[in-house]
């Protein structure tokens, strides 16, 4: 049975992360930005699982569960906030959500 080399996983993880970062930087829609954050979290998850299995230490996978839980909670709260903002401002364009400033 041929094993997929670890580099593949890591490259995929890095690629996902970079996509996430760029998405956070350049997209204007709050929901997309939010999804990009999720993408970054998941890329980290992937890296964790990869190393866990490679080293044979299950702790990394335990961490992943934690991350997933937190991500779920975060998604719930974050989406709630975005919905609340949308109700208030009729938009989710984050350039227009800039009242928290001088």
């Amino acid at each position: 049975m041929s094993v997929i080399p670890i580099e593949y996983y890591l490259i995929l993880s890095a690629f996902m992360f970079v996509v996430g970062v760029i998405g956070v930087f350049i997209r204007r829609n709050a929901i997309v930005v939010f999804m990009c954050i999720e993408l970054m979290l998941n890329s980290a998850n992937l890296a964790l699982v990869t190393f866990s299995s490679y080293i044979g230490n299950p702790v990394g996978q335990v961490f992943v569960f934690f991350v997933m839980t937190v991500a779920a909670a975060e998604a719930a709260v974050g989406l709630a906030i975005i919905i609340a903002i949308f109700r208030n401002k009729q938009t989710v364009n984050i350039d227009e959500i800039n009242i928290f400033k001088w």
């Binding site: 970062v21 956070v24 930087f25 350049i26 930005v33 984050i94 350039d95 959500i97 800039n98 009242i99 928290f100 400033k101 001088w102």
Partner: protein
């Protein structure tokens, strides 16, 4: 009865509480008046019984204390609420409750119809309560309690008609002035107390006085203690430089002037000096100061009294002057004479004021004696009693004032020297003159008032009976203190009675210079002659020959103005003390120091932070992605820095 002496204090308090709380509901003036008077009457009876009991004791046992409860205690300080019943306090309490009772009764008539009738009686009772504490207190702090208490009542009663105009302001102004000037005196009094406590480690009379006899203490300390206490006395007893409140105190109803500002409260200072005689006797410098201040006050106040036109003002300055006499007596070491004068003065000055009140009552609140005249036909009882009082204060032989004043003058001569006697005698002459000027302008001569406006009438008997009783006292009161040269065996009864209280003080003073009886009689004759002349001139000039006065006025217009304006003392105080303090407080302390400097610094710090923040807050532009970018750049830089430093 000595054991129950606190009842004499308590009853007036009960009267105050009843009238104070329920007076508004009690519709009948008579009920209120009876409650007010009877409580004081009972206090008088209790004092009288205690007096009778004490007088039966042998001399050594005549000092008793009645302890109630511990008031203040901290560390070594242990101040009990206790009353001291001895010759001095009994004498004073008899005067206060006795005269007080008569004035209460008189007030039922005088205050008739006033809206604040119940309030008036409540305050009067409270006053008697406070005054009794002052007199009977067994230590300096209870004395001070009474001291401040009477000050408060004086304040309340001066401002009793708080919405009436009085001179330049309202009666409330006069009341406030009285309280504050008294407070200045109290400031000195308190310092005296502190120094006593520091020196003797106690504030109890008997402790302090016995220690003062036996401890070896620097004379300077005694001088300071005595000086501080005397400052207190100048406030309460209206002496130079703090006498200015008393003339204004006449804004109160006349019975108040009689009770508080003539007969009782203002003598509190004299009482205190007398009580602490040993402390004063140990302070020769201050004794001298007291004598001089007393004499000066007596003289200057008498000169002002010569030209005043307000009937109560004349009497007020007369009171100041007479108080000066009492301090003169204390200052030369004749403590019992000063108390003797307190007593006789209480009788005749209360009578004078009540008589004046009767006149004011009859003349519908008119107080200018220039608008009186010939009133003797309308109010014979008032006229007659007033005459007796006037004779008494003028020192007419046989009347009470004669005995007490003569005694003071004699001791002034013996212990102080000729100059003190002379000053006193001249003042006595001035006194005789101004009081008979007042008498003549009021009761004798032409009727100068408008008959359409005024219908003078004799006052009701509830007012005249106290006048008559006081008149009797003004005559007979002096016979308890007949000079030794005239009474063969018993000696001076009054003096002998008080003797034990002053024994230690007199030992300290040791004045044993010998003077012949001839001298005493001679001096007495001279002063009596002076007074008689003054009486004659006053009556003659003011009934027959008023032009002389006008001529004199024109001739000495400057002196007249100076006297008429009371040496401009009020104005001077106002411009060098009162106004500067106000201006400094407002303009410098508040609006400059507080608002600009102190608050300026506080706000300045905030302002600086603010300016700085203003500059850097622009970084916060509210764009999430901008923040994220900065964060990214930051991470890259930190990573770079770490790698470089590897």
């Amino acid at each position: 009865m000595i054991k129950y002496i606190y009842l004499a204090v308590l009853f007036p308090l009960i009267g105050f509480l009843i009238n104070g709380f329920f007076g508004r509901k009690i519709k009948s003036e008579l009920t209120i008046g009876i409650i007010g008077s009877s409580t004081v009457g009972i206090a008088f009876l209790i004092s009288l019984l205690a007096f009778v009991q004490t007088i039966q004791f042998p001399v050594e046992q005549r000092t008793n204390t009645v302890e109630l409860f511990t008031w203040l205690s901290a560390n070594g300080l242990n101040i009990k609420f206790a009353y001291l019943v001895d010759q001095l306090s009994l004498t004073m309490s008899l005067i206060v409750t006795g005269v007080g009772f008569l004035i209460h009764v008189y007030s039922i008539g005088y205050m008739h119809g006033d809206k604040g009738f119940w309030r008036f009686f409540a305050y009067l009772n409270l006053f008697i309560f406070a005054m009794m504490n002052l007199i009977l207190g067994d230590n300096f702090v209870v004395l001070f309690l009474g001291w401040e208490g009477v000050g408060l009542c004086s304040y309340l009663l001066i401002g009793f008609w708080y919405d009436r105009k009085f001179e330049k302001g309202t009666t409330a102004d006069a009341a406030k002035k009285a309280f504050i000037v008294n407070r200045i005196g109290d400031f000195g009094f308190l310092l005296g107390l502190f120094l006593i406590y520091q020196t003797f480690d106690s504030l109890n009379f008997q402790d302090v006085f016995s220690k003062a006899q036996t401890f070896l203490i620097n004379e300077n300390t005694f001088n300071l203690i005595a000086l501080f206490l005397f400052i207190g006395a100048t406030g309460k007893s209206a002496q130079i430089p703090l006498y200015i409140w008393l003339p204004d105190a006449m804004a109160g109803p006349t019975p108040v002037s009689a009770l508080i500002h003539a007969a009782t409260m203002v003598t509190a200072g004299v009482y205190m000096v007398s009580r602490a005689s040993i402390l004063f006797a140990s302070a020769p410098t201050v004794m001298m100061i007291i004598a001089v201040v007393g004499l000066l006050t007596a003289f200057l106040a008498a000169t002002i009294g010569l030209v005043q036109n307000d009937i109560k003002k004349v009497l007020a300055y007369s009171t100041i002057s007479q108080l000066g006499y009492m301090f003169l007596a204390s200052g030369v070491g004749a403590f019992s004479s000063s108390i003797f004068h307190v007593m006789t003065h209480a009788f005749f000055k209360a009578l004078l004021f009540l008589g004046a009140g009767s006149v004011i009552h009859a003349m519908h609140e008119e107080q200018n004696i220039q608008n009186y005249g010939g009133l003797k036909n309308y109010m014979p009882k008032t006229y007659f009693t007033f005459l007796i009082a006037a004779l008494a204060i003028a020192g007419f032989p046989g009347f009470s004032g004669f005995f007490s004043k003569d005694e003071i003058l004699w001791y002034a001569y013996v212990n102080g020297g000729f100059i003190f006697w002379f000053g006193g005698a001249v003042t006595a002459m001035l006194t005789a003159f101004y009081i008979f000027r007042l008498f003549a302008l009021t009761f004798l001569g032409n009727e100068r008032f408008d008959h359409h406006k005024y219908h003078p009438h004799e006052s009701p008997s509830v007012m005249t009976i106290p006048l008559i009783i006081l008149a009797i006292l003004s005559i007979l009161g002096g016979y308890v203190g007949i000079p030794e040269i005239f009474s063969d065996q018993e000696g001076n009864l009054f003096k002998n009675w008080l003797e034990p209280v002053y024994k230690s003080a007199e030992e300290k003073l040791l004045t044993s210079s010998f003077h012949s009886h001839f001298e005493e009689v001679l001096l007495m004759l001279i002063s009596v002659l002076l007074a008689l002349c003054a009486i004659y001139i006053a009556i003659y000039v003011y009934t027959k020959n008023i032009f002389v006065i006008d001529k004199l006025k024109k001739r000495f217009v400057k002196v007249y103005n100076l006297l008429f304006n009371k040496y401009y003392v009020d104005e001077i105080y106002d411009s060098i003390i009162v106004r500067p303090i106000k201006i400094v407080s407002e303009k410098i302390l508040w609006k400059f120091t507080d608002s600009i400097i102190i608050d300026g610094m506080v706000n300045g710090v905030a302002e600086i932070v603010n300016i700085f923040s203003e500059k850097i807050r622009r970084i916060q532009n509210g764009l999430v992605q901008f923040y994220a970018l900065i964060m990214g750049v930051g991470i890259v830089l930190i990573l770079f820095w770490i790698i470089v430093n590897l």
